[in-house]
Amino acid sequence: MAERKKREKKIAEAPVAPAKPRARRKPAEAPAAPAKPRARRKPAEAPAPLPEAPAPLPEAPAAWRTPAPADWPALPVVTGHDHIVAVPIDARSALLYWELTSEGLTRARASLGGAEHGVELILRLYLIGRGDETEIRDAPVGVWLGHRRISFDHDGLRLTAAVGFRAGDGFVGVARSNPVQLPHAGPGSDPVRFVDASGARHPVPAGVETEALRRLSAAELFR
């Protein structure tokens, strides 16, 4: 009892942080799903180089300056240079986000040679599968600042994205993304190599089977 009183006294004298109620609410609402990109298959080709910027050019029309989405937090996200970034999310999806400046838009528009009708701001995806064939997919975006999640039917694609103007069959990019490799299911086909603690290479030890333990590991993984 004396010990208890001692504890009570000690606690009464010590500062205690006030307890804050912990609010719970439903998960953040997802924005509307983006329009499914249109797929167009083309023969293997390297992405077209982005045009050199002719300068100086007039300012982009105000109509192109779509405001940032309403749910975008009021933080300084505008960096002032044209870019698009690709981030792998899983084996079959990636996040793309981009920012285009009025200068970049104006230069790209001028490169279209003055075409006025049917000009559309799009995301162009260059997808390379295991067969090394490049598939090109376009998706209209319409905004100079945004992010979009793109899903694919196959895993393990190599992806590069560009954002720019499409007019008829022509495309002029304003920015091109980093290339990303989406994860694939199953091991790769690189040769099997062994190293010791010093990093020196060694041949595959005698008697080592290459499949049995992988199968055993996978059985544990999915049982």
Binding site: K20, V77, Y97, G188, V192, R193, D196, S217
Partner: protein, 464 residues
Amino acid sequence: MSLALVVEHHLPFAPGDARAAVAATLGVHLPLLAALRRLETDAVRSPLTVVLSPTALAMLERERDAIRVGVETTLLQADAEVERTRHDAPMHATAVQLRDLLDAHFRLFETLGGDVVAEYRRLADLDRVEVATTTATRGFLPLLQDRAALRGQVEVAVAEHTRHFGRPPAGIRPPACGYAPGCEEVFAEAGLRWFAVAPHGLLDAASPPVFGVFAPVVAGGVAAFARHEGLTREIEAAAAREPTWRLPDTPWRQTGPTPHKALYDAAAARARATELATTLIDRFEGHSEAVRRHMQSPIFLVELEARRDEAAWLIEDLFRRLHARRLEATTPAAWLAGGRLLQETRPAPSSTAPGGHAKALCTPGSEWIVPHLHHAADRLRSLAREGADRRRLAQAARELLLAQAADWPERLHRGDDVDGAVAQLRDHLAAFHRLADGAEESFLAEREARWPLFPALDPQAWGR
């Protein structure tokens, strides 16, 4: 054949709010340290790998006085509960058991002088445990992308670990074992010798993994270990559903979704932990026999959640069974010291988060965070290269590290105080930009006082 048991503990950095630190001290550290001390007394080896996040270390260090008050308050509440249930015999018996458990923890807390980190350091110095690290603020590496951002999270974690333990960590278990190509180079630069990856990170590696998950592979000079999913899940299932174990923070047992609740009985829970340990060691031996037909010295890495007394008893009994059967327990660093030949390959991008990749941390509700983090990291790298004012840069780096914590997208995903999480995240990002813009001295001093994290932080990690 070797068994490596790994436990992880993380606390978000929340100065002034010691509730989580009190719960962790009572629920994780004191039961675990008590178990490790009993094993030490009985001369039973206990090579446990304890992953302590740098923010958890910061909270345990900074909030020591508040933790003491919290521990004493909890004990006082347990005393009061014993009094309150005096006329309800079954409830009273449980209340007495819970008070006695807490009392034992409190006595250990007093013995340690309230410094649980010092006890881990003592055990590590005796090679009785291996203390590993995770990223500085639990930043999820596959979504950070930028090399400077990865370096910041990893090098600050290593520096902070070194400050607490007097030597750098040998290994890192990134949050959710998140791996993307290039991480291994950052780990190697930071002097790490091993890291943890998800099992499919090894199984889907660039070259077929000859030993599956039963040996690490070497990537960029650093060994990548994957956990044994079967044993890990078995322990997870026991922790979640074992009916004799206590429903956390209640006097009830985990009886599942039924209106018929039963009172907790510590002796029954303790006995069950012993039974479970025996079953798990039997299973480990069975698996090992199957694996040893194909390789000589497999290692089984098993992850456990040590969030309660029962988990600490299980860990204690696992080590006792291993000792009794003369089976080898090890840690990743000790196993690597054996100088075995290892396969050299690159793991596949992977994580142990739901879905196996970044999907659970980059949901439609939280993906807007990613561009903010990339822009801020880009800006910090530029400022560090320009040689901006070091003090200002260091605080900006703290704000960025705090914004990069995976805790925010996880809270958004779970719906756990979403407004609070978004407000906190925005506060860190806004402060980062204000500091990067050259904020006035008073603002810098205010942020330093409010978010006093990682005193040894070197912002040049972002500038190299």
